[in-house]
Amino acid sequence: MVQETTGPTGETWDETLVRVFKANEIRLITYVPDKVLAPLIKRLHADDYFTVVCPAREEEAVGIVTGAYMGGLRGIVLMQTSGFATLPNALASLTVPYQIPLLMLISERGTLGDFQLGQVIVCRTMRPILNSLNIENYAIERQDDVEFIADRMIKQAYATQAAAAMILSPLLTARVKK
């Protein structure tokens, strides 16, 4: 049963995501670093439940999670917007045709006050790419929605054997006190 509200009061988005990953047996974490994702990455590294792999490129992470899924180990790729922009070929030639429930968690950079010019331009490409490949995507903007969106997107991905992109909006992440 999915709760429509978050769990314990005061839980941060990264704490909630760790809980949702465990509830869905997401044991393999692959990531290419991102400053916004740093607290989540730190939490995952510190938790023995997870196998954490940090490859050189996001494409590699997609390959690893794809192989792991076919071998019976559930995983996810964590990345930032610019990292996602390196993926269209892998998504179009592997993820989509082979019907892989590839889970992606993308920290949305380049909007709502980002001063990195490259991030701002590449950000414009993210949703058009996801939508043109018909990949389920949804932005998480409020703490109250983290569990509901993440849990349901993960379950839908495995039930339908289709990829899912969870986008972490600055509305969620930039409001957290560091």
């Binding site: 393999l28 490859p55 490129r57 590699e60 076919m70 180990l73 495995y158």
Partner: protein, 215 residues
Amino acid sequence: MQAQLLNPVGREAAKVMNRSDLTRRLVAKLKHEEAVVGGIGHTHFDLWAAGQRPQNFYMLGTMGLAAPIAVGVALAQPQRKVFALEGDGSLLMQLGTLGTIASLQLKNLVVIVWDNGSYQITGGQPTLTATNVDLVAIGKGSGLVQSVWARDEAHFEALVEATLTSDGPLFICARTDNAPPAGVTERDAAKIRNKFMEGLKVNTRGNQQTYAGAA
């Protein structure tokens, strides 16, 4: 693995062999449902032609991801030996993966590269290995201690036999000619995935049944 088998031979001294023949020699030695990920192009064509084992995965696209996919399978099923077959052109697109593999030290992973020095499927344009890149040297530089050129067919077979009973990761490079592949893979991605997952005894929700392994 015996040090003698890993005795260094440079690319120039390695015999130019035939990819279809080597693929058949590899497959003939797989008796314990070992997984094989065949990279894009003639690599997976020849894997297909060597016999459609349920534990074979054929990549219809995505240059450079055969090894990462094999890494994923190897992480998921530590009891199963997993082979990645990749071409030199594909591996050149994803060299960082050699470092990733070395960092993970997966005992059950073997990466084999067919190095014909060319993009054979697109008309034989030369790759960087035809002039100046030595993939075994890159493997070693990436931290893969067991990186080796196959000297000839007998050496290749000895390496495969040894790796079935000793710890990886192992990185084998074999020089190959530009003879055409022995067959063409059926182009049905969903069917390929389903058969592979059945072969690995995994359901589509990503849950695994038991596999006892080779022992």
